[in-house]
């Protein structure tokens, strides 16, 4: 397999002025922000929060796949483990929500460091398999450990008071807290991909031997992006536990790892905004087509097939092609 047929290369981010964001990116961020401020008044806030959590998860995953060129098949491990720890911290230790989320995130980061340092020694499909293997072990641990509550999960997690002051019991207040986390997360990701670090990642993705010969310590960069991605996935998972007031095995199961790949692919991997769109589409389908049972599964399958066969760039990737600007 030669690098020029690497699909990931197709939607590469083109050079960006050092001064900051290109104007159209700024415009999209502002529009997104305005829309999300208005969203809880138009849509059901908990649903929007779910979309935000999954969108952040998909963006974190995309950081690794789309920009680092590494396909992890075990991202549910970080998402789910963070969700458990955050739920446990809020419920049993009685931590405030922001501390609970930080606790979950830290655990995801440590897990990411441990698993990443082993996995990055392998390439391609073997890398994916190592991550899958570790994710299965994490799943097994979650099933066995006492604090996770087995398949009942951790239920009735209190939303608590932000900084010990602001009551998050109301979904509207909670919404703006989640929105803040989401925006902080994606702006951080945006900053990472457009930093010198991000440029080195891109170089490694395009041609690893050349990056090595240029003197970059490739494995350190790979590990760094892996840990960042796992950490941000952890933020998403930990936040989700507070929003839904529960953590369960669904979040650590391998199908969750598959779902995040689907979201990223559908939205457009290697694009900044693609995963957000992908997550929104998938979560909307799961939510609003819930009455149709199996047809949701079939619909997801069809989306997969159509996306792979006819628009591999994803929704946002196709849009970016039309307007000839990276999105």
């Amino acid at each position: 397999m030669t690098t020029d047929t690497n699909p990931i290369a197709m939607t590469a981010i083109t050079a960006v002025g050092a001064a900051g964001m290109p104007r159209h990116h700024l415009a999209i961020f502002v529009a997104l922000f305005v829309f999300l401020i208005a969203a809880p008044f138009l849509l059901y806030p908990i649903f929007v929060m779910k979309v935000l959590c999954f969108a952040l998860f998909a963006c974190a995953f995309n950081l690794l796949l789309g920009f680092g060129g590494l396909l992890s098949f075990g991202h549910a491990a970080y998402f789910g483990m963070a969700s458990y720890v955050s739920a446990h911290a809020a419920k049993v230790w009685g931590l405030t929500p922001e501390l609970a989320i930080i606790a979950g995130t830290l655990v995801a980061a440590v897990l990411g460091l441990a698993i990443g340092s082993l996995a990055i020694r392998r390439h391609g499909i073997y890398f994916a398999m190592v991550t899958l293997a570790f994710a299965q072990m994490i799943y097994f641990f979650s099933l066995q450990a006492a604090f996770t509550g087995g398949e009942d999960g951790i239920q009735a997690v209190p939303r608590g008071h932000l900084f010990g002051l602001i009551d998050l019991g109301s979904s509207d207040v909670l919404y703006f807290f989640v929105l803040a986390i989401f925006f902080a997360g994606i702006l951080l990701i945006y900053r990472i991909i457009h930093s010198p670090f991000g440029q080195v990642l891109k170089a490694i993705r395009e041609n690893e031997p050349r990056a090595i010969s240029l003197g970059y310590r490739v494995n350190r960069y790979k590990l760094a992006v892996f840990v960042l991605s796992a950490t941000l996935a952890g933020v998403a998972g930990a936040t989700k536990a507070i929003v839904f007031q529960l953590a369960s095995l669904t979040d650590v199961y391998w199908t969750m790892s598959g779902e995040v790949v689907l979201m990223t692919l559908l939205g457009g991997m290697g694009t900044v905004f693609g995963p957000i769109v992908g997550a929104a589409v998938i979560v909307t389908m799961q939510n609003y087509l819930a009455t149709f049972g199996d047809w949701v599964t079939i619909g997801q399958g069809i989306i997969f097939v159509v996306a792979v066969l006819s628009f591999r760039e994803g929704i946002v990737g196709v849009l970016a092609k039309w307007i000839r600007k990276p999105l």
Partner: protein, 398 residues
């Protein structure tokens, strides 16, 4: 706690007073429509709820009932999202069914928070009337304690006094094993051993061989759904029952027996709250149900949805209002009576009490017509069938 409920209830009734001329009731049937429980509590539960509304003749009585349904995919986050959305934006008053304990526990919490009503027919966890009990939940059909108790005590009484468990390695399986062991030992039997299999499992040969080697008189299957089906199928292959050991499935539905076929399932012992061929009333209902549900007879969960919705509507009629606290009080005060479970009561902790039955699956030559699967071994009277009120640790019980 009580005061809080009272305040909520009174504000709710104040809000509702304006629109009291006719009662509009919205029932949400939330269950698994694509996963492992779709056949025992999927579309069938929706049909059962509709039949309850029709049989009650709700419109004639000034109650407009609408029914919505959704698939929780056995995922607690999906289920709780739907439940919240139903309560917050779609004015759903009651959620019914909800198999899968993890989802049911989540819905239980949300229902309490939003002060609505949860008619739990699908879930097994006895925590729903124990440490997670709620003034807004009625646990209708069965629970792990009742299953363990029914099968455990009746089997020991029949001479099956040494047990070996094949247990699904998750909370539900552990609970079944723990509760059944306690009952077996309390009844004078002993437990020789147990093996935990991964969930979900496909191949049970190894575990069954260990059970066979133990020499126990009864092999208890503390698992559910596809696991039980596979385990029973392979038990027949390895000649467990032919070898003189009895096979007891702690949670098994008639649909599972249907899936296995009598050749394989014969001799299996199980506890259930309902069997379609029990009396004329159950037969009449089941025939109508079967016509609408692709030829499938009702499972005990579907029967429970029917009966619980019926009882709820009766309470709404009696109160003349759908205020959750008042209706709930009425439901617990009024004895229950329906064609499927007969007479019964609802306890303070939300536990619905009725007789449970120990059935044995018939041999193929004993089965006279389609779905003629069970013979009754024992009837466990309502007052003995469920966990005593004091032992549950429910905070509503003083």
């Amino acid at each position: 706690m009580k005061k809080m409920g009272f305040v909520l209830a009174s504000t709710a009734s104040l809000l509702m007073a304006g629109a009291a001329y006719a009662t509009d009731v919205k029932i949400g049937v939330l269950n698994d429509r694509s996963g492992i429980y779709a056949d025992i509590a999927g579309e069938g539960s929706v049909i059962a709820a509709q039949m309850a509304v029709e049989d009650f003749k709700a419109t004639d009585k000034g109650i407009n009932v609408s029914i919505v349904s959704a698939d929780h995919q056995n995922k607690p986050d999906v289920g709780s999202n739907i439940a919240r959305q139903w309560y917050d934006t779609e004015n759903v008053d009651v959620i019914a069914d909800v198999p899968t304990s993890s989802v049911a526990l989540a819905v239980n919490e949300i229902t309490k928070e939003k002060n609505k009503i949860f008619l739990a027919s699908g879930p097994a966890s006895s925590d729903l009337t124990g440490k997670a009990c709620s003034p807004n939940t009625v646990h209708w059909t069965y629970d792990t304690w009742a299953l363990a108790n029914g099968t455990g005590s009746a089997m020991v009484a029949q001479g099956g006094d040494s047990w070996f468990f094949v247990t699904a390695d998750y909370a539900f399986g552990h609970a079944l094993e723990r509760d059944t062991s306690a009952v077996v030992e309390a009844s004078g039997g002993k437990v020789l051993g147990a093996v935990r299999h991964p969930f979900p499992g496909q191949d049970f040969s190894s575990f069954l061989l260990q059970a066979q080697g133990s020499g126990a008189k009864v092999v208890g299957l503390a698992n559910a759904g596809g696991d039980t089906i596979n385990a029973v199928k392979q038990a027949s292959e390895f000649g467990i029952t032919q070898g003189g050991q009895a096979l007891a499935a702690l949670l098994m539905f008639i649909n599972d027996v249907h899936a296995l076929g009598l050749e394989v399932a014969q001799g299996l012992v199980l506890t259930s709250a309902f069997y379609w061929d029990k009396n004329d009333q159950t037969r009449e209902f089941s025939a109508r149900f079967q016509e609408r549900n692709a030829g499938q007879k009702p499972s005990m969960i579907e029967a429970g949805v029917y009966a619980s919705v019926l009882h709820y509507l009766k309470a709404v009629e009696a109160v003349g209002d759908k205020d959750a606290a008042k209706v709930m009080a009425k439901m617990k005060e009024m004895p229950t009576e329906d064609p499927l479970f007969g007479k019964g009561t609802i306890r303070a902790d939300g536990r619905k009490l009725h007789d449970m039955y120990l059935f044995r699956v018939k041999k193929p030559d004993q089965s006279k017509r389609p779905w003629d699967y069970f013979e009754t071994v024992a009837t466990i009277p309502a007052d003995k069938a469920f966990r005593p009120l004091a032992e549950g640790g429910c905070s509503l019980v003083k």
